[in-house]
Point group: C2
Chain length 190, copies 2
């Protein structure tokens, strides 16, 4: 699939059909991830591919707790109604783990040291685009507690579970969210 | 260009040929950027396209100062030798500005509130892939001081210049940096 088509057509998918994602497809997503750029090519990422239903259940229960507490904290109505069952129904979940020790010279800048997170985000975007090209739906999900996820997945204390990427064949057509025109957000210094 | 080819072939480009990048190409890059996902589709990005040589000169001089001070702070030898003349020679520089107010519910999480930066990183990755597909070289650059860049480009105090993306026709073949195999960095919970 053409790169611009994949970029423009990809949408967040929150409803998946049952049935596994092939090992081959999972491997392709991971290969796409690691070709992202990173500061000093430090490749500050690790991945955990979760297909075990019991573990998905534990994650779902943490995410559900977190959703409720965030709904209270924020007072945001949509969080009260937000359904997180896609955690249970997505055939595969890829946890993306970032390593803060593998950031670049940005660590010496004020407000810096986030380069490793940016690299992981670029790696995730590569996965989402590749998933779309393979006919798979995907969701970039972050509403969970770092510590809880670390404990649940056995992640080193020095590393950070930055996102869960849900993967599977999409059920129905994802919501077609629009965008503000790029030029409205752009200024030119000619 | 096929999405996986673009992902795998894209490299950081630090040497550009003279000659402008077409307005059409710049617009395509910006359009690609805004189709990135973002928390609550808040689209927390703005862009400044810099083609003015005097402004590029000012940025170059800030980056050069920063490089020297980072070389001292870090003691890293490569930073002493690092050439940043690509700031001057890249035909266009796209500054990517993030808006922390436009992050999602992650703002209520401990260690959270970084969703807007992740979204901007995904937008940048979209630009780099699209640039490669258009035959353009690109560089994701972050070694500058936020405050200095804000002042230089007239950015609101509440917003953050997260990266400079240098764009132009590549001069020669970029360095072919390798990657560790994805499966070496992956654990499966089946």
């Amino acid at each position: 699939m053409d790169v611009f088509t994949a970029i423009k057509e990809r949408r967040s998918c929150r409803a998946f059909l049952p049935g596994p994602v092939s090992e081959e497809a999972i491997e392709k997503l991971l290969q796409a991830a690691v070709w992202a750029p990173s500061p000093m090519n430090a490749q500050p990422w690790e991945f955990i591919v979760i297909t075990n239903q019991e573990v998905k259940g534990k994650i779902h229960s943490e995410v559900e707790d977190r959703r409720k507490s965030l709904a209270e904290k924020s007072g945001w109505k949509w969080l009260e109604r937000y359904q997180v069952d896609f955690i249970l129904s997505s055939p595969a979940i890829i946890a993306v783990i970032g390593n803060p020790d593998k950031t670049g010279a940005d660590r010496f800048l004020e407000g810096g040291g986030m380069g490793y997170q940016h690299a992981c985000a670029a790696a995730i975007q590569n996965m989402l685009l590749t998933a779309h090209a393979l006919g798979l739906g995907s969701l970039w999900f972050t509403l969970f507690d770092f510590e809880a996820m670390r404990a649940m997945l056995g992640i080193d204390p020095g590393k950070e579970p930055l996102a869960l990427v849900c993967i599977g064949r999409p059920s129905g057509e994802p919501l077609q969210m629009a965008r503000k025109d790029a030029l409205e957000r752009t200024r030119f210094i000619r």
